[in-house]
């Protein structure tokens, strides 16, 4: 299955996000070897040069490291992985609040609504 990609943003960025996401969500484990550029490119149905660029960028960020003869690996630096996870989470939260602003809700209102929803869900499962 080709990866789902938006068509208005740079492809390599989206490949980076996807791989980052796969690492954080545990598809790849810390220290795992990742597939070759060619295999990943085929899987995603993108140009190998673009995949190469995405992997190089991830290497620069420290998430991947390469061993000259044996390929590319996921970092086992737990601190870095945790930070990456927190960064991604806070990004999602910011986006959510921004969308709520567009709908005309203040941060306080939004928070209250979240708590409401959670309460109702708990109440629902209790009964």
């Amino acid at each position: 299955m080709p990866w789902e990609l938006d068509n208005d943003r740079p492809i390599y960025l989206q490949l980076m996000e996807r791989i980052q996401h796969d690492i954080i969500s545990g598809v790849y484990k810390p220290g795992d070897k990742i597939p070759s550029v060619r295999d990943l490119a085929l899987d995603a149905a993108v140009n190998p040069n673009t995949m190469q660029k995405a992997l190089s960028e991830l290497e620069r960020s420290g998430l991947l490291y390469s061993q000259r003869t044996s390929g590319r690996f996921i970092t086992d630096d737990e601190k870095l992985l945790k930070k990456m996870k927190m960064d991604l989470a806070s990004e999602h939260i910011h986006q959510f609040f921004e969308q709520m602003h567009h709908l005309g809700f203040s941060d306080d209102e939004t928070l209250e609504m979240i708590q409401d929803v959670l309460r109702r869900e708990q109440y629902g499962t209790d009964s």
Binding site: P2, L5, N7, D8, R9, P10, I11, Y12, L13, A41, L42, A44, A45, V46, N47, P48, N49, T50, K53
Partner: protein, 232 residues
């Protein structure tokens, strides 16, 4: 590294009409390049000049630093935009013919692709549907170990599923030092596999840029940009 294809002030006139006018263009090795432009913008003329089916009125076109001719045909694998095979031949005959004709043809690669696309080797070309014939032609072209693949409208006649396989075929078979030049109108289908796109309009270069550069700069896909630039 030397570009694989280079045009310097390339001009081609048919009668009093310019099909290409002072075109300057250079294609790097190891890239998949989309050659895009509306009908009559000069795409096929450029491709024919690269294959020495036409000769320039002015300027120069070089492949691997050589003018198109016998030497360049060894390194260029070309898929024309029309059927060019003897219709009376069978699929296995034309494959053997290619194998004899080109030093760099791989029977193994051809067999693998024909199996994957379920092509009957005993069938005569004249009995094949338009789409199947296109697949056979593309397989023959991609089974060569070339430095430059020039594909003129390779996916126009095939169904979307076969289109995906064909794109995959192009991705699998080209090596890192080869360049693939694809002319097509089906931009959104191939956009993700392209490194670079070239826009032609009325025989002149409008744009030559990487796909990600276009997306970063314009915040839109190549397909959308094309529709804007060439709005009727």
């Amino acid at each position: 590294m030397e570009p694989i294809l280079e045009c310097r002030d390339l001009t081609k006139k048919y009668g009093s009409k310019y099909a290409l006018y002072n075109l300057n263009l250079s294609l790097e090795r190891g890239q998949i390049v989309g050659l895009l432009g509306p009908n009559g913008s000069g795409k096929t003329t450029l491709i024919k000049l690269a294959n020495s089916l036409l000769h320039p009125t002015g300027g120069q076109i070089l492949i691997n630093r050589t003018e198109p001719g016998i030497e360049t045909k060894k390194v260029v694998s070309y898929l024309p935009d029309r059927n060019y095979l003897g219709r009376h031949m069978r699929v296995d005959e034309i494959t053997a013919y290619y194998n004899t004709f080109y030093d760099n043809f791989s029977m193994e690669r051809a067999a693998k692709m024909m199996d994957a696309l379920d092509i009957d080797r005993r069938a005569r070309l004249s009995s094949l549907s338009k789409g199947t014939l296109e697949k056979v032609q593309l397989i023959l072209v991609m089974s060569r170990e070339a430095k430059l693949y020039i594909l003129d409208e390779p996916i126009g006649g095939v169904d979307p599923a076969a289109r995906d396989y064909i794109l995959q075929t192009i991705l699998t078979n080209y090596n890192e030092n080869a360049t693939v030049l694809i002319s097509t109108h089906l931009i959104s289908d191939i956009e993700n596999v392209l490194d670079h796109v070239v826009f032609l309009q009325e025989g002149q270069l409008v744009l030559s840029e990487s796909v990600d550069e276009i997306r970063t700069q314009h915040g839109k896909s190549v397909d959308t940009l094309f529709r804007e630039v060439f709005k009727c």
